[in-house]
């Protein structure tokens, strides 16, 4: 199991400093949460970690590999999967294809192997079922409601089976009844050895499933620890929960 951590990460957009020298370390094999007020830099942090944008300073370390500034697909292949806050699906592909497309295709030569193999298709259906959208298997993503797409995206990431999974607001727009199941799912997968980092504003969910919480404010971590500790932390209460 490898540790994901950043050292002195910094990213500024013009005058706006989105991430301001963040040293963050996530616990391997645990469910980590990343919380913080709107605009505190959580999504930008994810983008830096997954190579979508290049940090100005600092480094992203995955186990013993320095992945700073590497291309997104390289990082993805190193075992980091993610979902997007404004969810991204392949609009003109059906749900099954969306999930199948997430199977890591590998390099060009390797990719010449046939897709749609039986076992893979079965696995795709399995994930759709677990997220309660099996009935949409043959529907195109562009014809789905917001929440359905959110779930579809999650199914894709799970299908790819990365060792570390970054979820950006998985609960946004998802029906609470399903949310419980997503929580259970995360726990189960975690028990199989996957590391999670979850950005989420739904405090009930965060508190119930995470082992370790990092709190961001203005681009830097202001607190880190187990849920009970975070819940009692005054800085967190002031900066985030607004009480």
């Amino acid at each position: 199991m490898v540790t994901l951590k950043t050292v002195g990460l910094r990213k500024a957009f013009g005058g706006v400093v989105a991430i301001d020298g963040a040293d963050v370390e996530f616990l391997p094999g645990k469910v980590n949460a990343l919380i913080g007020p709107n605009g505190s830099g959580k999504t930008t942090f994810f983008n830096c970690v997954t190579g979508m944008i290049k940090p100005d300073l600092g480094s992203v370390v995955f186990g013993d590999r320095d992945l700073t500034g590497r291309a997104p697909h390289v990082i993805a292949r190193a075992g980091v999967g993610r979902t997007f806050q404004l969810c991204r699906t392949f609009p003109r592909m059906t749900a099954v294809e969306n999930v199948l497309a997430a199977v890591r295709p590998g390099g060009v030569v390797h990719g010449l192997r046939s897709s749609h193999r039986r076992t893979e298709t079965e696995r795709a259906h399995h994930w759709l079922t677990r997220l309660g959208i099996e009935h949409l298997a043959e529907a195109e993503a562009r014809n789905m409601s917001w929440g359905q797409q959110k779930l579809l995206e999650l199914a894709g990431v799970l299908m790819a089976e990365p060792a570390t999974i970054l979820l950006d607001e998985p609960a946004g727009g998802v029906n609470p009844a399903l949310l419980d199941r997503i929580g259970t799912l995360v726990r189960e997968l975690n028990a199989e050895g996957r590391t999670f980092v979850i950005v989420e504003h739904n405090m009930d969910l965060v508190m119930s499933i995470s082992d370790h919480i990092v709190v961001f404010d203005r681009g830097r971590p202001i607190a880190a620890g187990p849920p009970a500790e975070i819940r009692a932390d005054e800085r967190v209460l002031g900066a985030y929960l607004g009480v």
């Binding site: 983008n47 997007f84 806050q85």
Partner: protein, 291 residues
């Protein structure tokens, strides 16, 4: 001396490029429509100016009174009738093809009506010129430049300062949201397109004053104009204007050592350089995709 003369010629040419590129910028940067037919409309306007002069014997500039409203109307129709029916997801790509089709039709109809012969307006002041610090400035080129400058300024003001400009940009960026704040998106988009075509009317008339026209001439203009709007930053009217002046000047100066043909490559070199160094263009432009 020769250099100074070339600078003058380059600036005059660049002015015309600027106006024509501004229209393209309007569709492309703001409406996400790649308007291949822009230069075909340009040639159409030039033909109408030539025709007015040839048949009716009046000054080609007077044809503007008819062509500008005519083109505006055509633009509105084009947008409402065709472009607005394309699926938003594939708008950019499909608009390339549909406007390409329109360009072909215009070219074909022009050829049908006026034959493939090269035409040129014969003006009393066609060869008139005056001296400017030792360089000669042709009157017709100056008129074309002035037309371009005035229209550009008007366009810029309209887009940045008026309610209409805002509504147009909002319409393109999120149609549903624009409708929800009360914008009549159909009309707005139609007018926006009409505006773009109106610039083609002005540009075509300016063009007709001092060059030859023939139906397939528009191909000759597409490349440089497209290069200009990429270099200028897709969507930025001042950017397109700056790039146009710069590239017009560069082309004119490079003709001295390189000759006319190779000098044309400056547009493409600039295009590829821009894409390699700053794909969003050198003078502002579109928002990079956010995750």
């Amino acid at each position: 001396m020769l250099v100074f003369q070339s600078v003058i010629l380059g600036l005059l040419l660049g002015g015309l490029y600027a106006l024509l590129a501004a229209g393209l910028t309007l569709y492309f940067g703001i409406m996400r429509v790649v308007m291949i037919a822009h230069s075909a409309f340009l040639i159409l306007a030039a033909y109408l100016a030539w025709w007015t002069n040839d048949r009716l014997g009046i000054d080609p500039l007077l044809s503007l009174v008819v062509t500008v409203p005519l083109f505006f109307g055509a633009g509105v129709l084009l947008q409402r009738g065709l472009l607005s029916r394309l699926r938003p997801a594939t708008l950019t790509m499909m608009s390339v093809l549909i406007t390409f089709a329109i360009a072909l039709m215009i070219e074909g109809l022009l050829g049908y009506a006026f034959s493939g012969t090269q035409r040129r307006i014969q003006l009393g002041y066609g060869t008139a010129s005056f001296d400017l610090f030792g360089a000669r400035v042709a009157v017709v080129k100056l008129i074309a430049f002035a037309l371009a400058a005035v229209s550009l300024a008007a366009l810029y003001t309209l887009m940045k300062r008026t309610q209409f400009g805002w509504a147009l940009r909002a319409t393109i960026q999120h149609r549903d949201a624009a409708r929800l704040v009360g914008i009549d998106t159909e009309r707005t988009a139609g007018y926006g397109f009409g505006l773009g075509l109106a610039t083609a009317a002005v540009g075509g008339t300016a063009l007709s004053l001092d060059t030859t026209i023939y139906p397939s001439l528009h191909w000759h203009w597409i490349g440089p104009l497209m290069a200009i709007i990429v270099v200028g930053g897709l969507g930025s009217v001042p950017g397109a204007a700056a790039a146009a002046l710069l590239l017009g000047l560069a082309q004119s100066l490079l003709q001295i050592p390189m000759g006319a043909t190779w000098a044309q490559t400056v547009f493409y070199v600039a295009l590829f350089a821009t894409l390699a160094v700053r794909p969003q263009g050198f003078f502002g432009g579109r928002l990079a995709q956010r995750f």
